[in-house]
Symmetry: C2
Subunit: 589 residues, 2 copies
């Protein structure tokens, strides 16, 4: 029989109708001559009633049913007794009197219950992912993700973007993260690489004149795994020709507005706030500020420059910064011990200490209060502090001050419950530095990537002082997460060559790795720019999860393996022989 | 300045308006004080006019312009003189008088012209793919492909399908084609595999209760390359729970109708024709018949069983077939020599000969006419032949007869121009055998894949005589190409185990390779089925191309390499060391 509707949609408008439903047994209550079954499908749950009165055969079948059996039923929708009504369920006013039941498949007892609040090891959830995904919150999360992609397709189609697939088997360009390699059988000793992003291909599509490209593209990075990283991830990838950075941001805002509406029925107000990277760093100590709360970093230089506290004055004299944040109501909340723990924590950012005072009716209290008490009003005003607040100071070079206070700002906002979790706060951070210093590589690397166009007035810096240049680049931030980023790209060969040089390439190494792309710049490459949004993270934030694994159907675990299929696995010698490969057995110990 | 419209869209409705256009110089005609430029963008070409009269600065810039320069212009749209009108162009009634021009980028002379009819080596086209893709026919082909995917997203969203991504780094299951492997760095000596299709994952998503899944999914097969194969290809992949084969076919027909309308504005009439595999083989000698023309295979057994021609009668006595096709007007068209060439060709299908007669007013002519001339009317009628036709006979076992005549039918239809190239002839071929004999492997393999459900009445054959079973499977054929295929899948563990056994798996080998999937069948796996459509092939057919490379932005060449980036390439020793791999140097010779 053909299903007439989903279980989860059977509400009072169905009363009196005969329905055919198919789904899973969520729960069974056996009262002897009356059996209640909660029948579950992707849309929700409806209550079935089996009774001698309705059908004795069906009642007999119902006696056999156990959790997670798959059944098909036919029955009549009736109103529940007033006292049996469950107002929290869409189907809570009705039940279905079953006349006919077929068991479509049986089920062993699952290793965990199919319900939202389970306490199960991550790897168990992943090993039985097909059961984990039956849980309503996982269903909902993946449906939100699907709504996002549908919304993206629809909006970008309206905007005349062309959906173009770029290769997944491509060339290894070991800049940035590590590539996943794919050995070639046809060319022994040669490898394809899985793309870290479609960057060069999408730029080439602009050179090919497609004008507006997009793709929901899988990307691959063989990085050491952290909290929310996956070996493969997905980005909403777009590129346009002949548009300015601001025009691309406007277009992206339209996309975000559509997605928020389609996905969560939220009306996003446009335009979004745009802030330079310099301002973001100064005000929030972060290039991805969470603007759902204030507690901004305050420059205390003017307020403290004349006081007799060497930690501050020496720092200022050496060109450093003294910044503070004022924690509303923090004076009572934070003990000396709690503050000491914060101080220890921010050592990882290079901070040598955390100065603090509590603001009382009488002035400041705390270890350094005596140095500041002659300047209470000035300092309170500069820090934006009121009586009852805790003021935290860091004095150091700018990068240390911002990393430390930027971290504390987020950390304390969570502890103090200052964040309105219902909000979705978007923000553009624009005008990034072109380069950033990498501790890992001990050199300057591209802040975004080597194809980012410097600001027009900074192009000359590429010759003289490249690391001071800022770029026509922009990140879109959501609730303190980097949701995506983009830039205007370089479309002139001479600028691209200077960029490679500034990144430490020789003429030869640039040619070897990117020669095909440099050549492409010779043939009428149009001005162009674009953006990529991390789909996994976007879905995670809209689904209000704290790990992208919760919005990926079959993710890898934190060790890059897949407990369901046991990938990666060993393979047959024949497979390796065909690829002209041998395993270095020493590493297998 | 912001572009106001695309060049290719400037028609007579723009007359009098000032437009800003950005694009490429397609052609330049310099008449001294008057310069004409054809400006090209993705929507087409418009004629620009530069003159002292309009702007002398712009005229000066125009003197510098060469083909493929990228420019921005501002100008006024005017009507062309009546005699200058080009009725074949959308923009042929207008031209743009240019007041202002900027050169956005220069271009070297391209290695081939940016126009449709070029005669250039395939690898040159691929090396400069960004130029090749500027050609209008490539633009159009990729836009058709994009229209298809947009249409698929929109239709399946309407039908409540959930777009879910499945992993690209997964487990190697070396059944069927060869896997591409991806070495793991974290687990030395272990490998992921790139998926040949999302088959098992999409079935698991049905087990997870998503009810309707789809994905436009990249698939990877390391096969020996032939005409229209690529190492990576794309399929429109869908799966549903609780639906019958016919319901899935109906739903797919809705999808095809939408795509044909959105892409080519063609109204596809539904329902499509459905034909069993047995009938398709008997009538067309093919499981993917081109039904744009008739010339069907005719069973000649009744007509020839009593004649005195041993080739026919012995074949029939030994249980073989005698089939014929009648080629309308073929008597004059085909010489004895031409027929001999066909005879030689079909030896590859195992045919030992090709008997033939020409139908004249007086009866049959040709080498075997004397054996048949007493039965002219009966044979003519059985073969469906008329005077002037050529009748070709093959007498052999069924597989040889069908392969030979099935091939000849297509071959001759092309030669005789019998195919209406404007038609799109869809057809379902249903009820396939569950297994097929593979010459390559010298054993029975799954005709579709090991997860295909036998017909209900054939399930018992799995124990007794599995290779006679037919399956709940269906292929969708378009113009003689297999566009896609699908089936109802096995959702019961006992049937799946029998299937593996029939395919030659031991209990242990099935467990090792597919144990996780067998386990999943224990937990309330719903009845389900689905389908996959080859997107590359679909786009190729709708764009009227004869190779899928023409509808892939950056395809591999016929040797699985990519002349643009030179993938695959050698990699650094450090990369291999990290993967615990060594190259077998012997193979590098």
């Amino acid at each position: 029989m053909k299903r007439t509707t989903y279980s989860g949609l059977v509400d009072e408008t169905f009363i009196g109708q005969t329905v055919t439903l198919k789904g899973w047994v969520q729960k069974r209550r056996d009262l002897g001559n009356l059996i209640f079954i909660d029948l579950r499908d992707r849309e929700g749950i409806v209550q079935l009633v089996f009774s001698q009165e309705f059908d004795s055969e069906a009642l007999k079948v119902a006696e056999e049913l156990r959790n997670e059996f798959v059944i098909e039923i036919e029955g009549q929708v009736t109103a529940r007794d007033a006292k049996a009504i469950n107002p929290r369920m869409k189907t809570g006013k009705v039940e279905v009197e079953v006349h006919n039941t077929i068991i479509l498949n049986k089920a062993k007892t699952p290793p965990f219950e199919i319900q939202d609040d389970i306490n199960v090891a991550d790897d168990t959830r992943l090993k039985y992912r097909y059961l984990d995904l039956r849980r309503p919150e996982m269903q909902k999360s993946l449906m939100i993700r699907s709504r996002i992609t549908q919304s993206v397709h629809s909006y970008l189609d309206d905007q005349k973007f062309v959906d173009i697939e770029t290769p997944y088997l491509t060339k290894s360009t070991p800049e940035g993260a590590r590539d996943y390699l794919v050995p070639s059988r046809v060319y022994p000793g040669h490898f394809y690489a899985l793309p870290q992003s479609p960057q060069l291909f999408k730029q080439l599509l602009m050179n090919a004149g497609f004008d507006r490209y997009y793709q929901i593209a899988r990307c691959f990075r063989d990085e050491d795994l952290r909290g929310d990283r996956q070996p493969e991830f997905t980005q909403i990838d777009l590129e346009t020709s002949f548009m300015s950075a601001e025009e691309i941001q406007d277009l992206t805002e339209g996309l975000l507005k559509r997605v928020m509406k389609d996905t969560l029925d939220i009306d996003l107000e446009l335009p979004l706030q745009r802030m330079t990277w310099n301002e973001s760093m100064a005000r929030y100590g972060s290039e991805k500020p969470d603007i759902r709360f204030d507690m901004e970093l305050k420059d205390m230089a003017e307020a403290v420059k004349d006081i007799d506290f060497k930690v501050f004055t020496n720092t200022l004299e050496n060109g450093g910064l003294v910044n503070a944040i004022a924690i509303p109501g923090g004076a009572d909340k934070y003990s000396r011990k709690a503050i000491d723990a914060k101080t220890a924590y921010i050592e990882r950012f290079g901070a040598k200490g955390l100065a603090w005072v509590k603001v009382t009716e009488e002035g400041f209290s705390g270890p350094i209060a005596k140095f500041l008490n002659d300047h209470v009003d000035v300092i309170k005003e500069a820090a934006g502090a009121n009586v009852g607040d805790l003021i935290l100071f860091v004095a150091d070079k700018a990068s240390v001050v911002r990393a430390s206070l930027g971290y504390l700002r987020n950390d304390i906002a969570k502890e103090m419950d200052m964040i309105d979790e219902s909000r979705f706060a978007f923000l553009w951070v624009v005008d990034w530095p072109l380069f950033e210093y990498s501790e890992d590589f001990d050199k300057y690397i591209a802040a975004h990537h080597p194809f980012t166009m410097p600001n027009a007035e900074d192009v000359h810096l590429l010759d003289e002082n490249p690391h001071e240049a800022h770029a026509q680049s922009y990140d879109i931030i959501l609730n303190g997460y980097e949701l995506g980023g983009g830039s205007i790209r370089i479309h002139k060969r001479d600028i691209q060559e200077k960029m490679f040089k500034a990144l430490g390439f020789t003429k030869e190494s640039a040619e070897e790795q990117f020669g095909f792309f440099l050549d492409a710049l010779d043939y009428g490459f149009p001005p162009h720019g674009g953006l990529a949004i991390g789909l996994d993270r976007f879905a995670m934030l809209l689904a209000k999860k704290d790990n992208i694994r919760e919005v990926i159907a079959f993710p890898k675990n934190s060790k890059a393996s897949e407990p369901l299929t046991n990938a990666p696995s060993s393979v047959a010698t024949k497979q390796l022989d065909e690829l002209s490969l041998k395993i270095n057995e020493q590493d297998m110990k």
